[in-house]
Structure formats: C-alpha cells, structure tokens
Symmetry: C2
Subunit: 332 residues, 2 copies
C-alpha cells in the first residue's frame, strides 16, 4: 500500500507532513511517496532504516491558499499537488493526502483523479462533532449547487464509508433542514427527502439546525453551500464564545481564580470537539481515495490521515460503492 503525500500543502509543510509520515511508517505497514521539493523533504528524512519504504517525486512548484483552484490545477503542472494526483491517477500509488488548498484538492480530484463510474459528484465529507460522537457532514463544500440525486448519492457513499471504515452498523442518515416534519424546507431538501425515504438507507428524517450538535445521525446530508456554512459557523461560534468568555472572566479577580480552576475541564471539552485525531476529510466518489487534511495539521494529524487512508483502502469502500451503484441500475 503506497500513500502519496503532498509534502508542500498546509500551514506546517513540509516539516509536519514528513514527520507525520515517518511516524506512520513506523506504525503501519505502508509505503510513502512524497510529492514536493526533494531538497526540503530530505532534510527531515533522518531515519535511514525507513528509506527503502519512501520515494520522492520532485515537484518544484507549490499551490498556495491564495491560488484560484481550477486555474492552479490547470497551470501549475509542476506543483506538488498536481504531480501527486497525476501519480495517483497513473496507479503509482493507492491514495493521496494533502493539507493544502481545499478548492484545488476538489478540482484536482475531479479533473485529474476522476469520478467513479455512476457517481454524479464527488463529495467532501469531514467528521463533525455531533453529540458525544462524530458524524459525517456531506457535502462540506465541494458542490455549492446541488440536485436531489447528488444528495441521495452522498447519503449512499456516506453510509458505506461509516459502515466499512468506522464500523458503524446500519448508519443513520439525517437531512439538514429548517424543521423536523416532512414537507419543510426548500425544494432541494423536499425532493431529496422523498428520494431518501424511498432508498434502502437507514434514513431517520430531517435534522433541525439547532440539533446539529446533539442528534444521533451518523451522516448529515446537505448541499455544499449549507454544509460549508454549518462547518465554519460552528467553528466560529465556538471560538467567539470561548474568547468572549475569557474576556468576561478576566475582568474580575473572582473570575480569574474561577477561570484557573476550570482550565482542565475546558481543555478536556475542547479535546472532545477536536476532529483532527480522526484524520482528514475524505473526498468520496473518486476513483481512488483523496484525503483532505486540515490546513493546520500537525504531524499527529498527518499520521492519522495516513491511518485513515489505509482504513479506506483496507475496507474496500470504493468497490462497495461501485457494487451498490450497479445494483441500483446506475450507469454513467
């Protein structure tokens, strides 16, 4: 199993990418192929025992967060991302991990790696803190304009992923909506409700936005615009509340002492909400696994994204998706 790593993507690249990959090589039975600036990558390859499981595709260019996604994928042919994805398409490796520009990863996934036959749109599916557990949010931003059939496929792919990678039996699918009853919401959501109700998935109905953090769905389905708003708003509200709480507490001596005493509890709570330990967000529906790691990934998050790629491949998710689509009479 050969995992291709975009060595230059993310806030802490290449150091965190290479170090996380080395930790993964020590723990898991995988090979690593780095795509990126050979000279910089080699600086961190200090353990000579691992070198026989490492390869480097030299790529001198880098796609940054400021680059326009589609243009960058088309023009920056010598970038670590494009060269890494080219290698994936050509069968040189089995999966691709990047902590770089999300839009570019989506474009590269679509234009370089390509969709699975029968899949209308690939979908970005991060794990999302939901109640005491995590659920898959699909789509988190790959497709801002969706049709009901896309959302129905997201739910199918998500169910297969949760069942086979996260080993959740008969995973529950919820539809993000502005009310719980059937008939609520906009046209897209209404039509999607009907498709999901008729499907063989374990559809549990609409999930109201106020319950997104405290419901029991394993997969939360929505279009990529709404999903992106949900994901970022949640991060923003949590950060803003914590920052204001700190401001308020530090205004009085009593508050300062209290704040000191609850510090450990708060750390524990924040840990519960941290999804980096689950690796990255898979881009589901592509011919080979592409994992988007968080831009601020440290070496541990990178190691976890590699573990996740391995589990993705071991579980045969893509093969099962293909089988299910064939069963459903889908073809493309």
């Amino acid at each position: 199993m050969n995992i291709i790593m975009d060595a230059m993507g993310g806030d802490n690249a290449p150091e965190a990418i290479v170090k996380g990959s080395i930790e993964a090589l020590r723990e898991y039975d995988v090979k690593i192929t780095f795509s990126g600036k050979e000279g910089e990558i080699k600086k961190y390859l200090t353990d000579k025992n691992l070198l026989n499981r490492i390869e480097i595709i030299n790529a001198e260019d880098v796609i940054t967060n400021e680059d326009k996604p589609v243009k960058a994928i088309r023009k920056k042919k010598d970038s670590s991302m494009v060269k890494g994805m080219d290698a994936l398409r050509n069968g040189y490796g089995d999966a691709f991990v990047s902590a770089g520009n999300t839009g570019a990863i989506l474009s590269g996934g679509l234009f370089i790696v390509g969709r699975l036959p029968g899949i209308e749109r690939p979908c970005l599916a991060p794990l999302f803190p939901n109640g005491k557990r995590f659920s898959l949010l699909m789509d988190a931003g790959a497709n801002v304009d969706c049709k009901p059939a896309f959302l129905n496929q997201f739910a199918l792919m998500g169910s297969i992923y949760m069942e086979n990678v996260l080993k959740i039996e008969s995973p529950k699918v919820g539809l993000i909506n502005i009310g719980t009853e059937e008939g609520k919401g906009n046209k897209l959501v209404n039509d999607t409700f009907k498709l999901l109700k008729e499907s063989e998935l374990n559809f549990i109905g609409n999930i109201e936005a106020r319950d997104i953090m405290s419901n029991n769905a394993d997969i939360l389905v929505c279009d990529g615009f709404v999903g992106n708003v949900v994901l970022k708003l949640m991060e923003g509200v949590a950060a803003e509340l914590m920052s204001r709480m700190k401001d308020e507490i530090l205004k009085t001596t009593k508050g300062k002492i209290g704040g000191y005493l609850i510090k450990d509890s708060m750390k524990k709570l924040m840990g519960q909400l941290d999804y980096s330990e689950h690796g990255g967000a898979p881009l589901l529906g592509l011919k080979a696994p592409v994992i988007k790691a968080h831009g601020s990934s440290d070496s541990i998050a990178i190691k976890n994204a590699i573990r996740q790629s391995k589990m993705f491949l071991d579980s045969g998710v893509n093969e099962i998706i293909k089988e299910e689509l064939d069963k459903g009479g889908n073809s493309n």
Copy 2:
C-alpha cells in the same frame, strides 16, 4: 397609534402578552387592541385607569405551533391571529405583534396584510448577536427558495430599517458566503453579489460563515433556508457548548468551585447574546408592520416588541421603502 396584540400567541400567553402590553401602556403613548379570548384577557386587566386605551377583539380560536401555517390562516378564521391581522388590514390598528406560530405569521402577513407595492417577498429580519453589536439577519426563514432580486430587496429594506429605526448611519450590508472573494459561493449568492455591488447600498462584500458572530456588517443577507440554519445552529451550538461545559466542570471539586466563581461573568456574557431586549423580528415588506416576538417571550420582551412597533411606525420605514422602490423604477 394603536398596536394590535395577538393575546393568545406564545408559550406564556395570554398572561405575558397582557402584562407586557400594560407595561407598554404606562411607558409609551400608544393604544393597545388585544385579539383573543376576551374572558382570559380581562383577568389580567386590573388597572382600571388604562382601560380607556385598551380594546378587545374577541377571538375564540387559537393557532398553535402544531398547526400547518397556510392551512391554519385559511381555516381558523376565528383565531386571535387571523382576527388581529384582519383588523390590521382593515386599518383598525397600525401594527401587529405576535409571539405565535412563525410560519402562520409569515403566511398571514403575505395573504392577509399583503405586500408593499413593488416588494417581491416580505422578509423575516431578527436582530442577531454580531461582535459587540447586533445586526439584522435577512431572511431568517420566510423564503426558503430565493432569487437574487429578492435578496437585493432584503438588503434595501434592511438598510432602511437599520438607518431609520436603529439610527445607524449608512448601515453596512454583508452577504453570507463560503468565502470572502467575489466569485465564491453558489449561483444565487454570486448573482446577488453583482446586484449589491451595483446598488447604492453600503455593500461591504461577502461575510464568511466563521465570521458571522464577529464581523462589522449591520445587515447580513442570505436566503431564508440558510438564514434559518444560521440562526438555529448558533442557538444550538451555544446551548450545547454551555451544557457540556457545565457537565465537564461539575465532574471535579476544583471545577465546581471554579464554576461558582465564574457564574456572574457567564451571566453577563449570556445577557450580551440575548436579543429579546431588542423586541422581536420585524417582517419587512408588508403594507403595515408585523412583529414576530420570540415564542418564549416574557412580559418585558413583549413590552420591547411594542416599543419596536412604535419606533417602526414613528420612523416611517414603509414610506421610505416605497419612495426608494419608486426611485428605482420598481413597480408591481
């Protein structure tokens, strides 16, 4: 100035509605017309000095939160909401306030009160905690499927409301999006961006979801599906975080003491986020002001919603909207 009150709408009706109205009668130069069960309303009318400024329209039926909005407005002719809105349409009063079923208020606004000439869709516009201030969220759920022209009109109406009712000079309009640059987002948002850029409004561009609680826009524009998701998710995340924080803190003795010490600071913070003191959410774009008070409104929130109706009427928002639409060559 005669404010019509739906005496039977909301979790604390009729008591909170009648008591809040009495407080308003003592503070403001208004008259109150209650729509609802005369017998129940009269129980709380203990101050005989105010009776000459109070009228009652007897209505024996009530629209509940379980009622289907459109059907309820059409069938429950003897409900406090329908009779109150009928009175508004017939010029018996100047504004209507209800803490009842939101969907029914929206339907009644559209079908009984009617749109201002030239307005494509009325819009529900609650005040939303944003940074250290509040901004208007439009639309918060009245229109789940929107066209760019609707959103452009929401921005116009919101600007007029913020300028004239909340006395904010040249209010800033932001567009909720999944990125800050022009060209980001779905088709609706992209096309709306162009309209807002060409308009004479003080358009400050896209506001990313992560910054919704900490930006400097006075008006946040989006379709009613997204707006409803934003509003409810924010409430849900705040409630869930606070509840989990409490759970975590109460697990240790140290945490319990700390929690006790920060109690006052936390109360203050929650007060900052509480929008009930600003009254309710106006339904903008109707022939006469309709204010949706929060379902859980107490008498103070009701008094504030009456103050808000008075300010709405005093400021002549509807007349200014009509003028602006005439200027723009809009007609319907």
